[in-house]
């Protein structure tokens, strides 16, 4: 169950262009969070909280890691927070990735830019369950690449950059491995990428993780809806998501 918690910042560092890794300590979150969930973080002086995915969990050390890109005021300010300071967050928020471990042998993780972090968390969980992981990670350019070696440790990893300055050149959909190799896919990244991926893999089942601007982050305000083929006609990203079956919502 989601709670309002304080997390202590143990480490903040820039690991790629404008991309910050932050290690946070909180036993409740570290014990209860599952991959795909996010924290709804309060940044001083800002009305709205910022949703940031949990990128990895260390249940023994009671820590979690988040990765975020400096794209605006809130993330810039968050990046300037110092070790030892406290962060207020609501979490663990959202549903997380769900899958039937027994039915999966090999899965594909397809991440774009700052959509990569939640997949890392998922990947570590998948391999613990004996599921093979192939990762395709897209970044804008060489400067932006992060976590390549961590994904390599999980399994085969293909890095793609828009401008070809590192790894393969092009979009992630240009460099997907043979579809026959895998049973399922998980993807997270910008909407155009998600559209391309779900199209390219339309004959496979998969899960997508979505982003939207949020108000409450708890399911009350209806800021973050996405049209869906259910009785209500919509789902809430903050509560029913951020992870949805690829055919469940209309992106």
């Amino acid at each position: 169950m989601k709670k309002k918690v304080m997390l202590t910042i143990l480490d903040v560092r820039e690991i790629a262009l404008d991309t910050v890794e932050m290690i946070l300590e909180n036993s409740y979150i570290a014990e209860t969070a599952v991959p795909g969930q996010f924290l709804h973080i309060s940044v001083d002086g800002h009305t709205l909280r910022r949703p940031i995915s949990i990128a990895s969990i260390d249940r023994k050390q009671h820590t979690i890691t988040i990765l975020f890109k400096k794209v605006g005021d809130g993330t810039e300010q968050l990046a300037a927070y110092q070790n030892g300071m406290s962060l207020s967050a609501l979490g663990p928020s959202g549903n997380g990735f769900h899958y039937e471990a027994s039915s999966l042998k090999t899965v594909l993780l397809i991440g774009g830019g700052i959509g990569v972090p939640p997949l890392y968390n998922l990947g570590t969980e998948l391999i613990q369950q004996g599921i093979n992981v192939i990762s395709v990670l897209g970044f804008q350019s060489k400067d932006c690449v992060f976590y390549e070696d961590k994904f390599q440790e999980l399994g085969r990893t293909i890095v793609v950059t828009d401008d070809g300055s590192y790894g393969q050149q092009g979009f992630v959909t240009d460099h997907l491995p043979d579809k026959a190799l895998c049973d399922y896919y998980f993807t997270c990244g910008p909407i155009p990428m998600l559209r391309a991926v779900t199209n390219a893999l339309h004959e496979k089942s998969g899960s997508i993780s979505l982003e939207e601007r949020m108000g409450c982050g708890v399911g009350a305000c209806l800021a973050c809806v996405i049209p869906a083929d259910n009785a209500d006609g919509y789902r809430k990203i903050c509560k029913d998501g951020p992870v949805f079956g690829a055919s469940e919502v209309m992106i």
Partner: protein, 306 residues
């Protein structure tokens, strides 16, 4: 012991704090954070005659000490609300206020009549001011005759006390308040959001899909205080105050201005516990400034009248 109770038409409030319409859904989500029995009342999200999907996303934007929203009255329709949401809230020992909206007089009447029959609802809040829906909403809220007309029709359609929620996007808020008072309103709710816009430099267009949205949060508090102060001198019906409330000190400022109770909106998003926290600190704040009870403080900011 500081007395926090307030009695308003149709509402016996154990304290003057309620979540504002649209910022609390129908209470389910926040009931996971705390016991809703702590609240003075609950104002439900707007109900319309039929289910509405609302606007495209993005629906919210952040502004200095505030936010813009253009949800667009998304709701499952009054029948579904009565079927599934009202019973959930009826379990609590807290008065429920139904916020009603519509694009036509007939829709308002229909929604009001439905809540009247349903029971378990203590009062209606007439949303004539939601600035996000193109048809109807904005005109009802900025034209005194139309506001009076819809008030009158809703009063006839139901026996429930009616609180008319005023829009701040007008030159003469006193005129609006008097018009709906004469038309039979039992109370006022004020203020709704100010119409605003944010333009995104990168995409070169308004950030909200709906282009304009309603400005709420601390940014609008001075406007709310001014309007409540002015209106309370010219009407004799009570006012539920709202607009940027974040603390018990803010609540006292609204009481002094002339509000008899208050609603907390945007602040719930920053802190889901904000309502119970305010309720817990209110007695101390009242005492600090020399008040024995909530009713003791109402309207006491009008120096001329003392």
């Amino acid at each position: 012991m500081t007395d926090l109770t307030v009695d308003l038409p149709g509402l016996h409030l154990k304290n003057p704090i309620m979540p504002a319409s649209g910022c609390f859904g129908f209470g389910r989500e926040y009931s996971e954070f705390y016991d809703l029995n702590k609240l003075g009342a609950v104002i439900m999200k707007a109900a319309t005659g039929e289910r509405r999907y609302g606007n495209n996303t993005p629906r919210v934007a952040e502004t200095p000490s505030g936010m813009l929203n253009a949800i667009g009255l998304q709701n499952p329709g009054v029948e579904k609300i009565i079927e599934t949401e009202v019973p959930f809230l009826a379990e609590y020992d807290v008065p429920v206020i139904a916020n009603i909206a519509g694009s036509t007089l007939e829709e308002y009447e229909k929604v009001a009549a439905a809540f009247n029959e349903a029971g378990s609802v203590s009062a209606l809040e007439l949303n004539i001011s939601c600035p996000n829906v193109k048809e109807g909403g904005i005109q009802f809220g900025t034209n005194p005759e139309m506001a009076a007309n819809v008030t009158n029709r809703v009063k006839k359609a139901s026996n429930l006390p009616v609180y008319v929620k005023l829009s701040p996007n007008v030159a003469d808020i006193i005129g609006m308040a008097k018009a709906v008072e004469e038309a039979g309103a039992d109370g006022l709710s004020m203020i709704n959001t100010l119409t605003g816009m944010q333009i995104h430099q990168g995409s070169r267009k308004p950030l909200l899909a709906n282009k304009t949205g309603g400005l709420s949060g601390g940014a609008i508090k001075p406007v709310a205080i001014r309007m409540i102060y002015d209106v309370s001198q010219h009407v004799s019906i009570p006012i539920i105050g709202m607009g940027g409330i974040e603390s018990a000190e803010d609540v006292l400022e609204f009481l002094l201005a002339g509000a008899s109770a208050v609603a907390v909106g945007t602040a719930n998003f920053q802190n889901p516990y904000v309502c119970p926290e305010i309720i817990d600190s209110l007695p101390g704040v009242l005492a600090k400034y020399g008040f024995q009870s909530v009713t003791d403080a109402i309207g006491k900011g009008h120096e001329d009248e003392r």
